[in-house]
């Protein structure tokens, strides 16, 4: 039971995630913003792929498709072009979105296709047992980073900004009220919107990095991010090493399908010229 029952496949609950896995928190925030916006369940398609994050939408009572690992945005592109009236929301893990799915991420962003992509960054591959992700902070331990993370950490927001996205936001599951509003803004944005949500994986990231207790990991996020507003009031040193939270970029930019239909002269079959 839950106030959100009408958005859930309740027969599938409780969901599969580990105790204290805050992918669930991010996911719940998304449902609440959908509720807030009053989106039509029948016209809101969830596209996800593989990974713990990508699995959660199985529990949501929306039309949904779970694609091969990394491919969610390419499928979402097809869904949207087939039927631009749909709300298309893509919920992905950080590995899914930015490692194997990185190419689709940058190109969907560039095209400014009216899709909302939510990336749950837990800095680890949860589903496969704790390997590092491109988003893993330097020095953190992972099963494939036995000497600490060696690669430079990817900033998903900067990446999609560089790719030409028109809406970029970042939130986390500590600041979960902000998160709901952020996701709602992203969904209402006309064009491609990306929300990176920092979540936590106690089972693999926490265990290997001395933060096994779920709440300790969530607390850790509190200090990882700083809101854009706060940051403006802080000194450079204070901000250094922190990630900005909030709407980081929002521009009006031509949306793909609109431009397409106008320039290519799209018309439904049978429509007169």
């Amino acid at each position: 039971m839950s106030k959100l029952d009408k958005y859930l496949r309740t027969d599938q609950m409780p969901h599969f995630a580990c105790p204290g896995c805050t992918h669930g928190t991010a996911w719940a925030a998304m449902i609440r913003s959908i509720e807030q916006l009053g989106l039509d369940k029948n016209k809101t398609v969830m596209v996800c792929a593989i990974g713990c994050a990508g699995r959660l939408p199985v529990y949501l009572d929306f039309p949904s498709i779970r694609t091969p690992h990394g491919r969610a945005l390419s499928y979402a592109t097809g869904v949207k072009l087939a039927n631009p009236d749909l709300n298309v929301i893509v919920f992905m893990g950080d590995g899914d979105a930015s490692a194997i799915g990185g190419n689709h991420l940058i190109h969907t962003a560039r095209r400014n296709l009216d899709i909302t992509a939510i990336v749950a960054t837990n800095e680890i591959y949860g589903m496969t047992g704790g390997q590092y992700a491109p988003t893993t902070e330097g020095g953190r331990f992972a099963s494939t980073a036995p000497f600490g993370m060696i690669e430079n950490q990817l900033d998903v927001c900067k990446l999609v900004e560089g790719a030409g996205a028109s809406f970029v936001g970042r939130g986390d599951v500590y600041h979960v009220r902000e998160l709901k509003d952020l996701i709602a803004s992203a969904i209402t944005h006309k064009g491609f919107s990306l929300v990176e949500v920092f979540t936590t994986c106690p089972t693999h990231f926490g265990r290997r990095n001395n933060m096994k207790k779920p709440s300790v990991l969530v607390e850790h996020l509190k200090n990882l991010t700083v809101s854009k507003k706060q940051a403006e009031k802080m000194t450079e040193e204070e901000v250094a090493g922190k990630l900005l939270r909030g709407i980081l970029l929002k521009e009006e930019r031509p949306e793909y399908v609109e431009t397409y239909d106008r320039l290519a002269g799209f018309k439904e079959e049978g429509e007169s010229v």
């Binding site: 599969f16 580990c18 105790p19 713990c52 949860g126 589903m127 089972t203």
Partner: protein, 189 residues
């Protein structure tokens, strides 16, 4: 027939993900290898990556092993209600059964009478203020009750597989398990 005399020994550890029962089964497999057995060990999990019923199984024999999975356990261990319910049915008639009586409250009707219901989780929690070494306490009880292999081999195997920082606690948990089993065995007599 004592376990030692079996041509092939089949063991099943079952519990929930995270309870360390697969590790326990690996340690026991190590022990059997050290004792000169041919061993195969396998594990299986539910569709849930974590949390569902899961199990660790061992087949040991002095001969060549041709099976791949335990079909009728000679030893059955269950640390959670779910796993107990799921896996108890196909044990052998005289199987040695060791159950966590704190977490498994509804005891199914076993085929065997050789059953030990001991509150491992509870006792371990009391003793160490952590339930983590429960799996090793189970091993202690099993070492004692199975009477197959010298306890020293268990202790060495534990040392090999457990991180140094928590070895001491785990060895104590092993001893606790042995003690609990001894007491229970005495009761049975």
């Amino acid at each position: 027939m004592s376990l030692k005399e079996l041509e092939q020994l089949e063991v099943r550890f079952s519990g929930s993900g995270g309870q360390g029962l697969v590790l326990a089964s690996i340690i026991f497999a190590d022990v059997l290898v050290a004792a000169g057995y041919n061993v195969i060990q396998g594990e299986s999990h539910g569709i849930e990556a974590r949390g569902g019923a899961s199990r660790g199984e061992i087949i040991a024999s002095k001969e060549e092993i041709t099976d791949l999975a335990v079909s009728e356990p000679d030893i059955f261990i269950a640390i959670s209600q779910k796993s107990c319910d799921k896996y108890y049915q196909d044990i052998k008639e005289n199987a040695l059964v060791i159950i966590d009586s704190f977490l498994v409250t509804e005891i199914p009707k076993f085929k065997s009478n050789n059953i030990y219901l001991l509150p491992f989780t509870n006792k371990v929690k009391e003793e160490f203020d952590s339930i983590l070494p429960t799996n090793i306490a189970f091993l202690g009880a099993m070492a004692e009750l199975s009477n197959l292999v010298d306890h020293q081999l268990f202790i060495e195997a534990i040392k090999k597989r457990i991180p140094t920082s928590v070895i001491e606690m785990n060895l104590k948990a092993f001893a606790l398990g042995v003690k609990m089993a001894q007491a229970a065995a005495k009761d049975k007599e």
